[in-house]
Assembly symmetry: C2
Homo-oligomer: 116 residues x 2
Amino acid sequence: MTDDGPTGDDLVEMLAALANPLRLRIIAALAGGRDYVSHLAREIGVSRPLLHMHLRRLEAAGLIVGSLELSPDGKAMKYYEVTGFDLRVNASVLAEAAKTLTRPDPDQGPGPKEHS
Amino acid sequence: MTDDGPTGDDLVEMLAALANPLRLRIIAALAGGRDYVSHLAREIGVSRPLLHMHLRRLEAAGLIVGSLELSPDGKAMKYYEVTGFDLRVNASVLAEAAKTLTRPDPDQGPGPKEHS
DNA sequence: TACATATGTAAGCTTCTTGTTACACGAGGA
DNA sequence: TCCTCGTGTAACAAGAAGCTTACATATGTA
């Protein structure tokens, strides 16, 4: 129990953000260096609005971060880069994370649950 | 490169299977020991058909395995248990897995892709 | 026979996700 | 002024995912 890891809800959000081929490709592209939106869209071969949506999802999960900067010629460019996330995913880690789940609990009352 | 890990498509399927609170709870319950469907449904507090669907998804991803057995009184019981999966999830692992993605590729021709 | 247990599955509905097209704004260069 | 390049976002269509209710089957027991 040296590494407590993320909350159950946070973990679900991260996993959901990564469970998509296009977003995996975005991570792969950013792993080779930071890039701005329009260039990244051309690189991967998707439309900007679509990439924008996926970037928001990845950033909301804390897997990438974006910073709005100004290029030498004055244009506003939004650069994204990967954060230093490193997850371990196995049964015990998931069981630990599941304890802190709050979302779709059919009856999450504080009452004691009988064991079968 | 000691551990090549799963294919990109397989990884996406695993992550998608885990990116769900209810399925996370199923994994957590099975991490404490194998169980059969009806009992597991009561334990977690969901309907059997719903649990059945999630179990299929988890089994398709290779995270759990089920075996149909007969109880001492002759009833058919399907027991599920977790497999020994243990994933490492970070930017370089994902970048490596993204190379083997086949699914939603806008133009996945074998031709060389020019670098910007 | 009737009831309890176990299994699986099909139909239908609702919500989320994915992707497109179109629009709006700002700044530099011809 | 007009064009190009950058940003963001709203509206809409199509598909997948999640969940419920209902049905069908098999076996042991009262």
